[in-house]
């Protein structure tokens, strides 16, 4: 076991635990924001750099601080380690820089994006971003593409978190989904635009933190905050059959996997459950799903922006 102190809170965790997992064990604001890490995907994390923290003391054995900020999702704790997240102005400033990089080429088409309201990039931007970008060049654009008949790829919105690539690698057989090209013209693609044809490919939609991979069967049906999430299950031979239904009235608009408080899937579901069972009668309803993860909409984050007009409304 290792004792680690993050922003003044101490926890004891098994050896080999990452700083991020230790911070999540403490909970609340202490946990750094993440975009590319996903607890159910092996080798995820390390790419986006939003979860960076400062290690001010390496361990009891070697108390030297680490020379650079580290990605908390890929750095293991040591006994006696001391970490600063929100208490380090350096971390907050560097994170603000990362948000600026991530948003630089992002189209900010939230008003017409199906992900709006449950988008990790929106949340990150509100919580950690600056008020405006200093990037004043044309943004890069790509054509929209279909990945099979159920999933649409809006590459403009992609932040190259590699989560969907890991779903393809780890859940789907015969790897045909990956990254083409390099640098800032990298693009998610399937092998010569082959449809991803696999029972579990739909999980890509769930892991995509932004609106780059969306469910075509839900496209433009409703803003998510007008839907009612309900936990439900059915007997399924391919997966656990445990899902969240997103209902409007009696209609099931969308089926997704259940996500934990960090917005990461609890279990993977199959495409049968996700795309082919859109009637309430297909499901045993368990009850309303509590959405733990705060989102822009639920938390009224726009109040924080300091726009006087909204301030007035608040009182």
């Amino acid at each position: 076991m290792a004792k680690v102190t993050i922003d003044g809170h101490t926890v004891e965790v098994p050896d080999g635990t990452t700083i991020l997992q230790a911070a999540r064990a403490i909970g609340g604001e202490v946990a750094p924001p993440t975009m590319c890490y996903h607890s159910k995907l092996k080798t995820s994390g390390g790419y986006c750099r939003t979860c960076i923290v400062k290690v001010s003391k390496g361990s009891d054995k070697d108390p030297r601080p680490m020379p650079k900020l580290v990605a908390s999702c890929r750095t293991a704790v040591m006994d006696g380690m001391e970490v600063q997240n929100n208490t380090s102005p350096e971390v907050l400033d560097a994170r603000k820089g990362v948000v600026e990089f991530l948003l630089m080429n992002h189209p900010l088409d939230c008003p017409i994006c199906d992900q709006a309201g449950e988008c990790h990039l929106q949340d990150l931007g509100y919580d950690n971003g600056g008020e405006k970008t200093r990037f004043d060049f044309e943004r890069r654009t790509f054509e929209r593409k279909d990945i099979g008949d159920k999933i649409q790829l809006h590459m403009n919105r992609c932040i190259l978190c590699y989560r969907c690539v890991k779903v393809a690698d780890q859940l789907c057989d015969g790897r045909v989904h990956g990254v083409m090209n390099r640098g800032d013209v990298s693009e998610i693609s399937t092998y010569i635009e082959n449809a991803i044809d696999n029972d579990f490919s739909g999980n890509m939609i769930d892991v995509c933190p932004v609106g780059a991979l969306t469910d075509k069967t839900f496209r433009f049906k409703s803003r998510v905050w007008f839907t009612k999430p309900m936990d439900a299950h059915r007997d399924c031979k391919k997966c656990s059959g445990k899902v969240t239904l997103w209902d409007k009235g009696d209609e099931v608009l969308r089926v997704t996997g259940r996500k934990d408080q960090w917005g990461e899937n609890e279990e993977w579901i199959c495409n049968d459950c996700r795309f082919e069972h859109k009637k309430s009668s297909d499901w045993v309803i368990e009850g309303p799903r509590k959405i733990d993860r705060h989102s822009v909409i639920s938390a009224n984050h726009y109040m924080k922006l300091g726009v006087p007009h909204y301030k007035k409304l608040e009182k």
């Binding site: 994390g45 390390g46 790419y47 986006c48 750099r49 960076i52 020379p67 650079k68 900020l69 990605a71 890929r74 560097a94 820089g97 990362v98 600026e100 990089f101 991530l102 630089m104 080429n105 200093r134 990037f135 004043d136 060049f137 932040i159 190259l160 590699y162 990956g178 990254v179 090209n181 390099r182 640098g183 800032d184 013209v185 990298s186």
Partner: protein, 433 residues
């Protein structure tokens, strides 16, 4: 004349053939190593020699070798990094092209020391003709019994392969190289684990630069202690320098470490001074990634001591007033060079070569290029120089691999030492936004 240990025979006719190479004493280190030495004894000699990696980072080679994990029944690999893509660096090409057997000899001796039974030379795609030269030399070495089963009648066997890359700078980063060698996209891996524990195909692996491996040959022939007497301080031995830019004699030079920079630039034995009787403005001493230094700081340290061609002296003063020996890509600029234009060229390179995995490097390199372009085109904004500074700062130290740092350092140093040149290009009428 300084001592030469690597390319002293580069002008000997036929030196690329096994026959001539052997007449000049070639393959003696293999004879000595496999017949009279234990692997541990070779590692010990390399440690004693003080040899430091010639690929850029300067990590002590003997120490790197001793970190190699040796679990029972698991293969170990030696991989030679011949990706040489750093702008300004072309010394490995010269060595391989002229004296291919020197690298092959170094690979055999080093593989024996590390217990590798299969080794690879990963060479950049643009060097396909050099790959052919290496392959021809490897065939000769197999035929002469230096490679293959039971080398020179001992029970040591080794197979050596040349793998040609597809032309990506990032595949010179050692873990991206290993990914590429495995047939995958050349993305750097997130470390740990380091290659010494889990490298090629997950097995313990040593990755070394061409020149590092070649230097093992004289080290084994003369002994580590003798080698350590050459050079200065912790910069032992000789170093190949690829000299380019506005000098009279561009080319590849083997120098004894510790040679004064001034002598290297102005002596006729080396660069032969600045071309067209001009004055020198600046030098990039170790390949495009290292900080650029103005004339006064490259010839003398901030303390006023003569700057030497050594790891320590070139980095004296840190990044405030110093630079790095890096890969030995020595680029000299005359008084008429536009530093912002040069920076823009470097920015384009790093933008083009970023693999795109981490957001600061993927997005930041392109952004810096766009700003530098606008500045050199004469439509820079008054805030642009500060913005460039800020972007490089947010990339440095916050990426998976050192390419991010390599993209940031040239920007920081160009602004640090030549800010006035950037400001002079920004129109006076431009208004801040």
């Amino acid at each position: 004349m300084g001592k030469k240990l690597l390319i002293q025979d580069d002008k000997v006719p036929g030196i690329h053939t096994l026959e001539v190479y052997r007449q000049r004493g070639g393959y003696a280190s293999v004879e000595k190593a496999v017949k009279t030495m234990t692997p541990e004894a070779i590692v010990e000699e390399v440690k004693k020699s003080g040899l430091r990696g010639r690929g850029g980072a300067g990590f002590p080679t003997g120490m790197k070798w001793s970190f190699l994990a040796k679990p029972e029944g698991v293969a170990r690999y030696l991989v030679c990094n011949a990706d040489e893509s750093e702008p300004g660096t072309f010394k490995d090409r010269y060595l391989m092209e002229k004296i291919p057997h020197l690298l092959i000899e170094g690979m055999i001796t080093s593989s024996f020391a590390l217990g590798a039974k299969t080794s690879y030379i990963y060479i950049r795609g643009e060097y396909f003709y050099v790959a052919r030269i290496l392959e021809a030399a490897i065939d000769e070495a197999y035929a002469a019994g230096y490679l293959g089963k039971n080398i020179l009648g001992t029970d040591y066997s080794l197979d050596l392969y040349v793998q040609v890359g597809a032309g990506a700078y990032i595949c010179g980063e050692e873990t991206a190289l290993l990914e590429s060698l495995e047939g995958k996209r050349g993305n750097p891996r997130i470390k740990p684990p380091f290659p010494a524990i889990a490298g090629l195909y997950g097995c313990p692996t040593v990755v070394n630069n061409v020149e590092t491996i070649a230097a093992v040959v004289p080290i084994i022939n003369m002994g580590g202690d003798e080698y350590a007497k050459i050079g200065v301080g912790k910069s032992t031995g000789t170093k190949l320098i690829s000299a380019s830019g506005h000098i009279n004699n561009p080319g590849v030079y083997e120098i004894e470490l510790g040679l004064p920079v001034e002598e290297f630039i102005y002596s006729n034995e080396y660069c032969g001074g600045i071309w067209k009787n001009k004055k020198m403005k600046a030098v990039v001493a170790g390949g495009s990634s290292v900080p650029i230094l103005p004339t006064d700081l490259i010839l003398k340290t901030a303390k006023g001591e003569p700057r030497l061609m050594s790891y320590e002296s070139l980095s004296d003063g840190g990044f405030v007033s110093g630079s790095m020996l890096g890969s030995g890509g020595f680029i000299v600029y005359d008084e008429d060079t536009s530093i912002p234009m040069n920076l823009y060229t470097f920015n384009r390179f790093y933008h083009h070569e970023s693999c795109g995995q981490c957001s600061p490097c993927r997005e930041g390199t392109g952004w810096m290029e766009k700003i530098a372009h606008r500045i050199v085109e004469g439509h820079g904004k008054p805030t642009d120089v500060d913005l460039l500074w800020d972007i490089q700062k947010r990339i440095e130290g916050n990426t998976i691999c050192p390419l991010g740092d390599a993209a940031a350092w040239p920007v920081a140093s160009a602004i640090r030492h030549f800010r006035h040149e950037f400001e002079a290009l920004i129109p006076k009428t431009a208004v801040a936004h």
